[in-house]
């Protein structure tokens, strides 16, 4: 049995739907990881001990355990305490929080690296510390970490395949389902890989555009 891509068009709609799910979950989780990353960074750097310590534990759980386990925990585990999330929501939350922790590490470093004169200039104008962080320090820190955060988001795209294990019909699971019907693993895994690659290119394009837009303002 040689390669035969002629059967691909027949199942294209399933694959494209999988693509749409992958993109949707990736974008939603990326946004969550970005906003979450900023919030986590602020908590880690500026919150009182009583909040910071439990938060550290949470951070350790997200960094020190497999993402797969985290997804199982959020999807199957939370049901036991009465939180029954749809699979794709569980997937977005799991991926988003997992990468928020990684983004938070980057943003913390960047916040500490913003020139001290920036905080001082804001404070001399009469801004409180919180206002100065929000208006002056954090926007600059976030700009400084767009490139490494972009790398995290590419990793997030690849890890989004893991949500297939909790039954979300994203690209990888869609390919598997089609293969189950056609017994053509090579063709459809290649096809899925090609789509991941295209989405990847799209994300890199977005990242470059953002970087170009902010290059002037630093």
């Amino acid at each position: 049995m040689g390669l035969d891509f002629s059967i691909v068009p027949k199942y294209m709609d399933i694959i494209l739907l999988g693509c749409a799910w992958t993109i949707g979950i990736t974008v939603a989780a990326a946004l969550l990881s970005f906003v979450g990353g900023i919030v986590f960074a602020v908590i880690a750097l500026f919150s009182p001990w009583i909040i910071r310590q439990p938060f550290r534990l949470l951070e350790w759980v997200f960094m020190g355990t497999p993402l797969l386990l985290q997804l199982f925990l959020i999807y199957f585990g939370l049901v036991q305490i009465g939180i029954d999330l749809p699979a794709f929501v569980a997937g977005i939350i799991g991926l988003g929080l997992h990468f928020a922790v990684y983004n938070s590490e980057l943003i913390q470093t960047a916040i500490l690296a913003v020139d001290k004169g920036q905080m001082e200039a804001a404070r001399t104008l009469g801004l409180s510390r919180g206002e100065a962080l929000r208006k002056v320090v954090i926007p600059q820190a976030v700009r400084d970490v767009i490139p490494p955060i972009g790398n995290n988001m590419i990793a997030l795209l690849k890890d989004s395949a893991l949500v297939s294990v909790i039954g979300v019909s994203e690209l990888t699971l869609s390919a598997q389902r089609v293969i189950g019907k056609t017994y053509r693993p090579f063709e459809f895994y290649i096809l899925a890989a090609a789509f991941y690659y295209v989405i990847n290119l799209g994300m890199e394009w977005v990242q470059r555009r953002i970087e170009r837009r902010i290059s002037i303002s630093r």
Binding site: D115, G117, Q118, E120, A121, A122, R123, T124, L125, G126, L127, S128, E131, K135, V136, P139, Q140, R143, I214, I216, S217, R218
Partner: protein, 256 residues
Amino acid sequence: MTEQTDFVEIRHAQKSFGTLEVLKDINLTVRRGQIVGIIGSSGSGKSTLLRAINDLDPLTGGEIWLDGVQVNKKLPHRQYEKHINAMRQQVGMVFQHFNLFPHMTARENVTMAPMLLKKISREEADALAREQLDKVGMLNRIDYYPSQLSGGQKQRVAIARALAMKPKLMLFDEATSALDPELVEEVNMVMKQLAEEHMTMIIVTHEMDFAASVCDRVLFMDKGVVVEEGPPEVLFRNPAKERTREFLRKHLEGAK
């Protein structure tokens, strides 16, 4: 207390960083509209004194009064924060390295604080940005980012940013020290213009000619004390203290 208090009054200011005593019993009064220059060699405590006035470097002893209100009065933490933010709104500060916000245009640098703290509308903010940037000759760069401006232009925007809060007092900490020589004059011009408008100013500088031309009074600081003070024509031409003479002589040689 109210009858003829001086506009700015620093009483027995003392500041230590750990065991290092940087300000030793400094007394200084500035009347409304007066322009006071501070000179002295590097490390003598000039910046620390200036930064104490708006509490960036809080004093470890002594009092600072502005327009009848004590800046560094003792209050519980929360209240003190509110109080100090309100005081700082009345004091503009200009730094040696500009400290413009790089992620904001000239317009946004000028309007951010007034919009946030005084809740002015976008239209009012726009008019304010135009007014203040025009004043420093930067209206034609209103939508430029700091990275697109020269050092002199940056410093003029930084002055506009401080003026936009309508301060009662302006503090300048070596505003021209980081500039290429050919860019110094444009910033000095703006400061002279403020002087003509009777803005109360305290100017730390190492430009003796400039200090002589704009200041009503000049202080010479050394090792955390005010060694001598007086009108510029006296302090520069006919200083009473040997340490002042020595500083001026060295400075003159250095300038050559």
